[in-house]
Symmetry: C2
Subunit: 373 residues, 2 copies
C-alpha cells in the first residue's frame, strides 16, 4: 500500500517513483519503487472531512519543528497565496475545497475553481502522506546489504503542492507548478534518505517574448539568489522533462524543473524551494491580467483547444506522477485535476510556418534553443 499513498502528492508532476525515470541520480531507488508499484494494490480510501486541520502531521509523532513541519507550513501557505491571488484576478469564481485525512496519517486538501471569469479551470492541491516501501526495494536502493525479514517495510514521508491553471483566453498562458519533499526514516542503522523536487513552467498558445522574459526572468532571479549555476541547468531539465516525443514538441515553453535535489544543506534547499513557490504569483498572474481581455476569434480558440489536447497527451502518456497515480490507485480527481475543461483533436492539422501558430510550433519544437533571459 505504502508507496501508493504518494500518488496524490505527485499528481500531475514528476514523482520520485517514476515509471519513465530519466536522468536520475537515484536509479536504484527509482527502480526499486517501480518494482513495488507494479505489484501495488489500490490505496486506502480517504476519509472526507469538513474542517481542514491545522496540521496534517501525526500528533505526538512528527515534530512540527522538523523539515516535515516546515515543508507542510510552506506548501499550505503557498496554496492560500496562489488561490487568493487567482480568485482576485479572476473576479468571478471561488475555489471549492475538498479535504481528507488517511487512516495511516496525513491527508490532502484539493482546491479547484471551474468556469470562472478568467480561468476555465484552476486547481491547487497539497498533500502530506505517510507510507512504507518493501525492505528489499529499499535495500536495493541504498546499495547496502542490510539484513531484513520478508515482510519488513521502510517508512517514508512525502509532501507536496501541485497546480495547473487553464485560462479561457488563448492569449493567456496555462501555468503548472509543483514543489515536493520526500524522506525515508532511519532504518536498521541506515540514516534516512531525503530530497526535494519541483518547478514552475508555463504553457502559452502563442509566443509573446515579453511574457517569456518576465516569466523566465523571475525564475532566473530566484535561482541566482541560491546558486548562479542553477537556472541554466534547471531550465534544461524542464525542457527535457516536458517533451512529447511522439509530437517532437515540448508541452510548453519551459521554466525550471529539479528532482532528487539533496546536494547541500537541507535548509538551504528548503529556502530555495520556498523562494520558488513564493514567486509563482509574481511570475504568472501579471501575464494573465495583461492578456485576459485580448481580442480573439474562432481560429485562436480552435488553436488553444488543440494545444489543450497536447497538454492531455503529455499528462496521460508521459507525466510520471500522473501515470504512477493512475496505475496505483491514487485519488483520481486530484490526479486528473490537471486536465483542461475542454480539449480538441483534429486529424492532421496543418500550420503555416509564417503564422503566429507556426511561430509557436517552431518554439516548442526547439525548446532548448530558446534563451529567454
Amino acid at each position: 500500500m505504502a508507496a501508493l499513498v504518494a500518488a496524490n502528492v505527485f499528481a500531475t508532476q514528476p514523482a520520485p517513483n517514476a515509471l519513465l525515470a530519466r536522468r536520475t541520480r537515484r536509479p536504484a531507488l527509482r527502480a526499486a519503487v517501480r518494482v513495488h508499484a507494479a505489484g501495488a494494490k489500490m490505496m486506502e480510501a480517504p476519509n472526507y472531512i469538513d474542517a481542514v486541520p491545522d496540521t496534517l502531521l501525526r500528533p505526538g509523532i512528527d515534530d512540527p519543528a522538523s523539515m516535515r513541519g516546515k515543508f507542510e507550513r510552506m506548501i499550505r501557505k503557498v496554496q492560500d497565496q496562489v488561490c487568493s491571488a487567482v480568485e482576485a484576478a479572476d473576479g468571478g469564481a471561488s475555489f471549492r475545497q475538498d479535504a481528507w485525512t488517511r487512516p495511516s496519517g496525513g491527508g490532502g486538501i484539493t482546491r479547484v475553481m471551474q468556469e470562472g471569469k478568467v480561468w476555465e479551470k484552476a486547481g491547487v492541491a497539497v498533500s502530506v502522506v505517510y507510507g512504507s516501501m518493501p525492505a528489499e526495494s529499499y535495500r536495493v536502493a541504498v546499495g547496502k546489504d542490510i539484513p531484513f525479514e520478508k515482510d519488513d517495510r521502510v517508512p517514508f514521508f512525502a509532501a507536496g503542492v501541485s497546480s495547473v491553471m487553464h485560462p479561457w483566453n488563448p492569449h493567456c498562458p496555462t501555468m503548472h507548478f509543483n514543489y515536493r519533499y520526500f524522506e525515508t526514516e532511519d532504518w536498521k542503522g541506515v540514516p534516512g534518505q531525503w530530497w526535494f523536487g519541483g518547478g514552475t513552467d508555463i504553457t502559452p498558445c502563442y509566443v509573446n517574448e515579453d511574457d517569456m522574459r518576465h516569466f523566465h526572468g523571475t525564475y532566473k532571479g530566484v535561482c541566482d539568489r541560491h546558486d548562479p549555476a542553477w537556472y541554466d541547468k534547471m531550465k534544461a531539465n524542464c525542457d527535457e522533462y516536458f517533451q512529447i516525443p511522439h509530437r517532437g514538441e515540448t508541452r510548453g515553453m519551459g521554466g525550471i524543473f529539479f528532482d532528487d535535489l539533496n546536494d547541500r544543506d537541507k535548509d538551504a534547499i528548503f529556502a530555495f524551494s520556498s523562494d520558488c513557490a513564493a514567486n509563482i504569483v509574481e511570475s504568472y498572474v501579471p501575464l494573465v491580467e495583461k492578456h485576459k481581455d485580448d481580442p480573439f476569434g474562432p481560429q485562436q480558440k480552435e488553436w488553444q483547444q488543440l494545444r489543450r489536447g497536447r497538454y492531455v497527451e503529455f499528462n496521460l502518456v508521459y507525466d510520471r506522477g500522473t501515470i504512477f497515480g493512475l496505475k496505483t490507485g491514487g485519488r483520481i480527481e486530484s490526479i486528473l485535476m490537471s486536465l483542461p475543461l475542454t480539449a480538441s483533436w483534429r486529424y492532421d492539422y496543418q500550420v503555416d510556418p509564417q503564422t503566429p501558430e507556426g511561430k509557436f510550433l517552431n518554439c516548442v519544437r526547439n525548446a532548448s534553443d530558446q534563451k529567454w533571459v
Copy 2:
C-alpha cells in the same frame, strides 16, 4: 525498426506486441516483442502517394492468393463498405484519404471525415506492413534453441483495419472496430507463426437496451455461425480489455474481442474475421440513423463530452496499440485518429444514480454483468 512499422496497423487497438499484455496464449512472444520495442528507434518515414495502388503486397514476392493477399483484399473492401455506408448515413461530409507506401514494402490508407452532419469525427485506416524482429526475441518466443548470428532478424508481416466513429448526438453511440492478421516467415527450419485478432465494440453515453440487443445480437449471430462458444468468451474478453481501472469502469458497453486466435484452420478463422467485418455496418449504422435526430440539451451534451474524456483516458493510458505506436514512432495522425474532436474533464463530477447518466455509470461499472442477448 522492424516491429515498429506494425504500429500503424495496431493504432487504437490491441497490438500483438502489447506493453500491457494480459491473458495471452503467447506470453513469450509478447515479452520478446516488448523487449524489442523498448530499444526501438523511430520508424522509417512514409512516402505519401497520390494514387492508391491496387495492392500493398510486394510485387513478385507476396503471393496474392496467400492469406496476406486475402486479408488485404478483405480489409480494403471493409474500408470501402464502411466509409460508403457512413457517408450515406451522414448525408453531408466525405472521407478525406491519405495514402502512403514504405520503402521496405507495404503501406497504409487512412480515411478521416470531420465535422459531418451526423458524425463529429470518423476514421477508417488500413495498413499492410513488413518488418523484422531480432532473432533472439523470436527464439525466446518460440521456445526453441535455434542457432543464430548476433544481427539476425526474423521477417514478419502484419495487416489490419481499424476505425473509430464519434457522432455529434449524445444519443448516438461511438463505435470502434479492428481486424488484424500477423505472421512470421519460416526461419531456420521453424515454420512461420500466425494469428488473427480483432473485435467490434460500442460506446454509447446512455443505456438503450434495444440498441444493445441489436448490436450484441448481431455479433452473437456472427459468432454462432462459427463457434457457439465464442460469443460468451469474446464478450468477456472485450469487457476485460476495455477497462479503465483508475475509474473502475469500462470504456463502453462491449462487443466482442479476440487476440492470438490460431486454434483452428487458418481459412476458418479468416472466414470468421471476414464475417465480423462484414457485419460492422449492420451492427452500428441503424443505431445512428435511429437516434441522429433525437432531441438533447446542454446537460446531455456535457455528459457526452465527459464520456469522450474517458475515451481519451482509455486510449492514451491503456490501449496497447496506441501506447506502442506513440512510444515507438508510428504515424501519429493514424494512431490518434481515434481521439474525439472534442472532450471535457470536470473536477469530481457527481451523478445521481437515479438519472439516465447514473444508469449508464452502473452499466459500465458492472460491464460483465450485462447480458444483452
